[in-house]
Symmetry: C2
Subunit: 227 residues, 2 copies
């Protein structure tokens, strides 16, 4: 009655010893999947718990039972996705460092920053929803989510340090600012923004070609960093 902590929490979607194997932890997974899609498409406040459970085909109480609250469900999805994204970025940065004797050039650093979310956005990846979710969380999320985004800059520090190493002649704060600008380029990659771009260009711009878009972004950002 007092507190609503999540139950035992078997690390989620882990098919370990369950009574009814047909929908044991399937409920949790269905909720997570439906919630992420609805949140990404319609926004956090525009989606009710009833919308989620209806979409997932589960009972209304499932959200509070498995996650404690709607906000906690949001934060859980957010935590997973950002962790995944940061892990993938860190891996690419690490590989780039290996390829360049620990001193990767600016373009390779930026590639590690840009490519993961871009690759997720491809139709074959099917994770464009996750990217939209993360971008949306940045402005519409809970205060807890924004706080986490604000304070946890550890993954960004890796990139900042690498960029400082690639441009040791540049003042550090200048590097930080330019990294900030690069991040803005990514966050602008939303459905609505692409729509506007399409209209502006009379359909001349298509974001379907991942490699072409990545090259465009890298050309622009690398030149900006080299200024």
């Amino acid at each position: 009655m007092t507190e609503a902590t999540t139950p035992p929490s078997p690390e989620l979607a882990a098919p370990d010893a369950a009574p009814d194997p047909e929908r044991e932890a399937a409920t949790k997974a269905q909720v997570l999947c439906a919630a992420e899609r609805l949140f990404a498409l319609q926004g956090f406040q525009n989606v009710s718990v009833r919308d989620i459970t209806a979409e997932a085909g589960v009972n209304l109480a499932s959200v509070n039972y498995h996650f404690g609250s709607k906000d906690a469900l949001l934060f859980e999805i957010f935590r997973r996705r950002t962790a995944e994204l940061n892990r993938e970025r860190a891996r690419m940065l690490h590989e780039a460092a290996d390829r360049h004797a620990g001193k990767p050039p600016v373009r390779e650093i930026l590639r590690a920053l840009f490519e993961p979310p871009l690759r997720w956005s491809t139709p074959e990846s099917g994770r464009g929803i996750s990217v939209q979710f993360i971008i949306r969380a940045r402005s519409e999320g809970t205060e807890a989510m924004r706080e986490a985004l604000r304070t946890d800059v550890s993954h960004l520090r890796r990139f900042a340090d690498a960029l400082v190493g690639a441009r040791p002649d540049l003042p550090k704060d200048e590097v930080y600012w330019r990294l900030h600008f690069c991040l803005g380029m990514i966050h602008n990659n939303r459905f609505a923004e692409f729509d506007r771009l399409h209209i502006l260009s009379d359909g001349a711009t298509r974001e379907s070609d991942l490699d072409a878009l990545l090259a465009r972004m890298l050309d622009f950002a690398e030149a900006g960093f080299m200024a």
Copy 2:
């Protein structure tokens, strides 16, 4: 009973013939001011009509009486602010064209794009709230607002055309993409993003100096456009 159109609508905040001069149309202005600030700081869905009227010191029914609905109030603020911003940008672009025989260089075009929202964000301007509001509207706004943002690209077309003129050697779609990247740089200028930047740089970056920030943004974006 059937429809809730705005009353006569005396063009808003216009002190024309009123019964009680002390708070005649002042109510409307108070509501607009309070609503803009609250929406900008807390988000659209997180602010209730009661919050607005309490902050404005007016009656709860004022919003529906003067604006028809909460959404209409939002759209009204949004319409004004974007119109103001676009007007100021267009003016700067026009002046730049005058200074350069109708063919302003890339940097001057981008300055007309960047400077107005940056200048609004200065403490002495006191319109940082309006900038935050516009940025927030881009992702959290009503469907009507997003639709307006998507479809009304006329003001952007002026900038796109000018940029095409400044870089005639570049494919047009490349220009559109790079303009898209530049817009992303602006939209990233939110309180939360600045906070993260501060933490990342251990306080080395301060956005207080307008001219320095504008120069940084122009250096970065111009170099990107010249790539």
